[in-house]
């Protein structure tokens, strides 16, 4: 047996180390669970990190109310299988409580409203560390994110005042009221995630595989028919053969036309993809620094 690890095993070992550091350094950590493949992989890594004990954190889901029904069904099944607690922060409730106002206009989404719901959920439950499945290869502002990302008492990220992160020494010290966002799979790429899902036979929502769906095209992005958005005059719903590369709020998650109905085919497609997976995300396209701006306010 050779004493070296493949890149996937080395990434796995690094992520497990960080998940365990989070458990050891904080009082009340949680996993931010979106129902997408990255947070599913993160949850599996958390299971491996503590086996044979159960995952010692709750899963926190910020529910925009504009979900793919399949995501919710998948989430509930996983929660039951892993025996973890689920905490749901509801954007609808934030709207009903008058904390945020629904965006108006034809391109209205609840993406930005999530920030308030997320920060309120963190505060109510006094989570001092929230782990997320963000990766540095996803977006240029994320390329400079730390594994342990310090947030002030308002949940804000200050990119100019980040703690240096050396070797594998993670500094989770903080003042009362402050918290951390922690990104254990920072060093994984989209390809690594898919290969790991294949290697570990991890179950993911069917939405990632090619299927027939009623969709419309807005600003070059294929959007699933959803009942939350009004159609513009020139837009028309038609049946298409598609799959999703990322899963988020149903109103902003773009699909790609694809016949890839197995993990092997998806990996083949990712290997030759010409656009980034977030290329289909309307939330990032609002401006060149849309992600950095949201992150500063407290987004994942």
């Amino acid at each position: 047996m050779s004493n070296s690890l493949s890149h996937l095993k080395e990434l796995e070992a690094e992520s497990i180390f960080i998940i365990r550091e989070t458990f050891a350094q904080f009082n009340k950590p949680a996993i931010l669970f979106s129902g997408g493949k990255d947070s599913i992989v993160l949850t599996h890594l958390a299971k491996k990190a503590f086996w044979p004990a159960k995952i010692p954190f709750p899963l926190v889901h910020v529910d925009t109310g504009h979900n793919f029904p399949e995501t919710i069904a998948f989430r509930d099944k996983l929660v039951e299988e892993f025996g973890v607690n689920l905490v749901v922060g509801s954007v609808q409730k934030s709207i009903d409580d008058g904390k945020v106002a629904e965006e108006v206009g034809i391109n209205a989404t609840r993406n930005r409203l999530q920030i308030t719901t997320l920060l309120d959920t963190i505060e109510e439950n006094q989570y001092d560390a929230c782990m997320g499945g963000a990766r540095r290869d996803e977006e240029k502002a994320r390329a400079k994110e730390r594994f342990f990302s310090h947030r002030d008492e308002f949940g804000q990220w200050d990119p100019k005042n980040q703690r240096p992160e050396l070797w594998n020494l993670f500094n989770g010290l903080k003042h009362f009221g402050e918290n951390f966002r922690i990104f254990p799979i920072s060093n994984w790429t989209e390809m690594d995630i898919w290969q790991y899902i294949l290697l570990e036979k991890i179950e993911i929502p069917q939405l990632y595989f090619s299927h027939k769906r009623r969709c419309y095209v807005r600003n070059g992005t294929i959007i699933s028919e959803n009942g939350f958005q009004e159609l513009k005059e020139n837009e028309e719903v038609k049946e298409m053969q598609i799959r999703f590369r990322t899963l988020g709020d149903i109103t902003i998650t773009g699909a790609v036309e694809s016949d890839a109905d197995t993990l092997e085919k998806i990996i083949g497609e990712v290997a030759t993809a010409r656009n980034t997976e977030r290329g289909g995300r309307a939330d990032d396209q609002r401006s060149e620094t849309a992600m950095e701006d949201r992150k500063k306010e407290g987004y994942f």
Binding site: I16, A53, A143, P159, Q162, L169, K174, E264
Partner: protein, 421 residues
């Protein structure tokens, strides 16, 4: 299928440092572009911004400079991590700024790297910045340096100019502790010897940059001799099936542990044997760095976070007096009167500063014993005394048990990195 060999791939982390005009961004852009790791939407966005700035070429630095301030000021401020892979390897680039005021970022990038990529402008030869980057690579014990002599097109692809630079660099590098230094003549702009061999550099017999990165042997860089297992946390399932289970979770920092091995627990000094090693929810027979595993012992001993499992005949040194090379990273000057928190492996202790021995001029490597005022980016040799013994090795012997950070107790910021002597 194209990616069938994904299981055989390993991981190489390398660091680069450079300033605006030495072609670093162009080189990284070229590596990403030629290995098809840049996507059309990224390229389109960079093209549009380049045009808006009135540039005639694509400014690849816009890919790596992710923050608004960096893009506006046209400089890299922070470490940016970039990823690409070939069928042979996955690569993580820690891309850092090169200017002296960003020494701390270079050290951060170098702390996890297997290899340092150093760029020299063929017209300028070895300059202060080259020496600084090389010194940092040596200080951080990076085992491999690849020196790319860039912009060969601007010196007519001259072999004698290349040889001159190699001589100049080797002269200076004799003072460093780097085992493996290689030189490659390239032109990042034209792609000579980056991914494809160059016809313009026929006199060069060595490998291209990508070929070098793909094939450099890093397997033996890890310390497989001195067994060190710092305990991160204790696993107690409290379930019926695993009622008495008590496992120690952590990462093997060095050495190879096998089931049945005699071990010593530090700092208590108790001996036991390894009963089980669990990796990925399964029992395995052995573990090695950098695996994250759970270990159980044959005897009922009370271990907790901060303890370390070692072999009886090869133990880490327990000491409260620690002598190390320090890079100061705090915005405020170093204050030898203050107490600091020390983070080392999975331990947290407090310390007082005993002595500042000397400061190192990072450009000349000269020791300054008179001026001991330490500001951001300064490197100095320092002695501290800790409230509790730490389980240490020298940094040259062991990167994990030989490194520490200092944290300011008022702000909780990480203010210094230390390499134990």
């Amino acid at each position: 299928m194209k990616d069938k060999n994904y299981l055989d791939r390993d991981l190489l982390r390398f660091t680069t440092a450079g300033s605006v005009d030495d072609g670093k961004s162009t080189l990284i852009g070229r590596l990403l572009y030629d290995s098809k790791s840049i996507f059309e939407d990224q390229l389109a966005s960079v093209e549009a911004t380049s045009k808006k700035k009135g540039l005639s070429h694509i400014d690849f630095s816009l890919l790596t400079d992710g923050l608004k301030d960096e893009r506006e000021q046209g400089i890299t401020i922070d470490v940016a991590y970039r990823y690409f892979s070939t069928p042979k390897r996955k690569f993580i680039i820690a891309d850092t700024p090169g200017h002296i005021q960003y020494t701390r970022n270079m050290i951060t990038g170098a702390s996890t790297a297997n290899l340092a990529l150093i760029l020299i402008d063929a017209r300028k030869g070895v300059i202060e910045q080259t020496k600084r980057h090389s010194f940092i690579a040596s200080l951080l014990q990076i085992k491999h340096i690849v020196v790319c002599v860039n912009k060969m097109d601007l010196v007519e692809y001259s072999q004698s100019r290349f040889d001159e630079i190699v001589d100049e660099y080797e002269d200076f590098a004799a003072k460093l502790e780097v085992e493996d230094i290689r030189f490659i003549p390239i032109s990042a702009l034209h792609g000579d010897n980056v991914v494809d061999r160059s016809k313009n550099l026929n006199w060069y017999q060595g490998s291209t940059l990508l070929h070098t990165l793909e094939n450099i042997h890093i397997g033996s860089d890890r310390n497989m001799k001195d067994c060190r297992f710092p305990v991160q946390t204790v696993i107690r399932p409290h379930s019926d099936e695993y009622h008495d289970f008590r496992g120690y979770a952590g990462r093997v920092e060095s050495g190879i542990f096998k089931v049945g091995d005699e071990v010593t627990i530090l700092p208590s000094g108790f001996n036991s044997k390894i009963a089980k090693i669990i990796d990925n929810e399964k029992e395995v027979q052995s573990c090695f760095p950098p695996m994250s595993v759970v270990v159980t012992l044959e005897d009922d001993i009370d271990l907790s976070r901060g303890d370390m499992i070692v072999r009886p005949n090869n133990q880490a040194r327990a000491s409260q007096d620690i002598d190390f090379m320090m890079c100061w990273m705090g915005n405020e000057a170093f204050d030898p009167q203050k107490k600091y928190t020390v983070l080392h492996t999975t331990n947290k202790v407090r310390c007082v500063i005993r002595e500042v021995l000397y400061k190192v001029d990072i450009n000349t490597l000269h020791r300054q014993e008179e001026d001991k005022l330490i500001a951001m980016n300064d490197i100095a040799r320092v002695k501290i005394r800790t409230t509790k013994p730490l389980l240490i090795d020298s940094y040259t012997q062991n990167r994990a048990t030989g490194s520490l950070i200092l944290v300011d107790e008022a702000t909780n910021n990480t203010v210094a990195a230390g390499m134990i002597i």
